[in-house]
Amino acid sequence: MLRRNIIELRNLTKSYNDTVVVDAINLLIRENEFITLLGPSGCGKTTTLRMIGGFEDPNDGDIFFEGTRINNVPPYKRNINTVFQKYALFTHMNVYENIAFGLRIKKVPNDEMKKRVQRMLKLVDLEGFEKRHVDSLSGGQQQRVAIARALVNEPKVLLLDEPLGALDLKLRKEMQIELMDMQKNVGITFIYVTHDQEEALTMSDTVVVMNNGVIQQVGSPVDIYNEPENRFVADFIGESNILEGIMHEDFLVSFSGRKFRCVDKGFSKDEPVDVVIRPEDIDVTSPEDADLQGVVSSVVFKGVHYEMLVESGDFEYMIQSTDMQPVGAGIGLKFGPEDIHVMKRGSDNEK
């Protein structure tokens, strides 16, 4: 299905007192897409979202909405609604009035308004809460009111700034599924912000990984996880072993004092590279028939699997396996060519 672009960010830049917090980002967002901005705290996710919402003026660059530049359009004229990081509910109104706020302003007739608010209450599982004062709600309930209040306006684009931050794990999982359903059913574009990589990978069509105001990678959750473009992405998404290596020729890389076959190509001869191996891709074997040998230095039980640190040479590998080995045991590590991800060493290799 070919989908139209609904929002385009071009060279978007924002700085506060000479500190650049969003650095010339370019991004295309398509209609009905569930796109997630993911990155560590302070990387500029909220700032980016606020510029799209119209609450922050960019210092440079442009924002396009359905092809029209909207830099100078005030928030109340944008066909975009926001679920704020801190809910920002109207504490002098009850739940019903909070949700109806936008509809009242648009002068939606009373009976239609009632219907739409009721539909929202049902969607966020808050039926019967109409008359409740928002102060008397739990954090999770408040968050759901905030979602309903934005969604009831049926905007073309919904901005959600860590909308599930205040929920416990179980409710968060439930709401994740509900939000995904809503997004599919109502058919609007979600621009979602989170610093929880699991949430991002579970929910999104597209993930945008940011660091220090710069986009590191844009891609589907699978791409982001399996083909991290640089060390930062590899490190931030999931657990990973990141080693320094040399790419000798296409499909041949060396690290940990050994040469390995791999599936990557297109590097110059003997180029220094970063090598990523996911902990779950390493198999534990007997030392004899393995690529690398090591000694277990710690074991932690994680529920589904054990997480072991294994010292091999001067590197400490993290391994996730259901096969527990005691501390001090000498074991072998085994991985195939497709488990080795070779990445260019970028300039942003501060880690």
């Binding site: 919402g53 119209g54 609450f55 005030p74 928030p75 109340y76 975009i80 609604n81 926001t82 704020f84 801190k86 920002a88 509910l89 109207f90 504490t91 002098h92 109104m93 009850n94 009035e97 706020f101 936008g102 009242r104 302003i105 648009k106 209040r149 934005a150 306006n153």
Partner: protein, 281 residues
């Protein structure tokens, strides 16, 4: 632990008894008696003082007092709200200074401030001199009601600004952004979000201005030039000039009851806002 905190409350209980309850009981007692104050034996129960009050002379004075106090309160609200709004919008570092600007006059003696206005407004005062100098006709503001109202507004304005500023400053910036996000322009945001949330501040501001304004006798005496008798002056005169403590006490009680009633009405407004305020809009 519990007992200790009980003892800690004693000084306040004693303080309240001596300075609030006993004087109140005395005033109440005098208001319901007649006879010679200095001869306690001659005092007997009587509602005569309350009867006296229903004289058109006195009724007019009380109506005027309430009218001028009401007018001053409305003016204070009209000036004070925008001022509080502007201060609450100012940059954090400027707020303290702006607020100070409005509060410094309170630290000056009340009489002194009022005398200063006399010097400005009197027929040969500063204002008229300046007007003469630039060739404009002089104004006869003082003595008169205009001067009294001006004095009240000037003296009590900070008591309106402060509580309104306090609630305005507490409003979450995010909430205003949420209103804009949902389609509200500046005016709608003000009417539907800011104003309802500042009603508690307005109520306490109105109370804090209205009460001293309705009972003042200094402002009306100095700026009204003795012509604008208010209920405060009336009460004062009963104690200082006419030596009719019974009538003075009865007037005080009447004023107190009326203030209590107005306060009860105001707190109803406040409570009404708390519960179903949104339905109003």
């Amino acid at each position: 632990m519990k007992n200790k905190s009980k003892y800690l409350a004693y000084p306040y209980v004693i303080w309240m008894a001596i300075f609030i309850v006993i004087p109140l009981v005395l005033v109440l007692y005098y208001s319901f008696t007649s006879g010679n104050i200095h001869d306690p034996g001659s005092l007997k129960f009587s509602v005569e003082s309350y009867g006296k009050f229903f004289d058109s002379l006195y009724l007019n004075i009380i109506i005027k007092s309430f009218w001028l106090a009401f007018l001053s309160t409305v003016l204070c609200l009209l000036f004070g709200y925008p001022v509080a709004f502007i201060i609450s919008r100012a940059k954090m570092k400027h707020r303290g200074l702006l607020l100070l600007f409005f509060l410094v006059p309170i630290w000056m003696n009340f009489l002194l401030r009022t005398y200063a206005w006399m010097a400005i407004l009197s027929p040969n005062g500063f204002l008229n001199r300046v007007l003469e100098m630039i060739g404009l006709p002089t104004l006869a503001i003082m003595p008169g009601q205009k001067a009294v109202v001006l004095g009240m507004v000037y003296n009590f304005l900070p008591f309106m600004v402060l509580p309104i500023y306090t609630v305005l400053a507490k409003i979450d910036k995010n909430v205003l952004e949420a209103a804009m996000d949902l389609g509200a322009n500046g005016l709608i945001t003000f009417v539907r979000v800011i104003l309802p949330q500042t009603i508690p501040g307005i109520v306490s501001g109105v109370t804090m201005v209205f009460m001293p304004a309705v009972s003042t006798f200094v402002i009306s005496r100095l700026l009204g030039g003795g012509k604008e008798l208010l209920i405060g002056n009336l009460i004062e005169q009963q104690f200082t000039v006419h030596r009719d403590w019974h009538f003075g006490s009865a007037l005080s009680i009447i004023l107190m009851v009326m203030i209590l009633i107005s306060m009860a009405v105001m707190s109803k407004v406040d409570a009404g806002n708390e519960q179903g305020g949104a339905a109003l809009w």
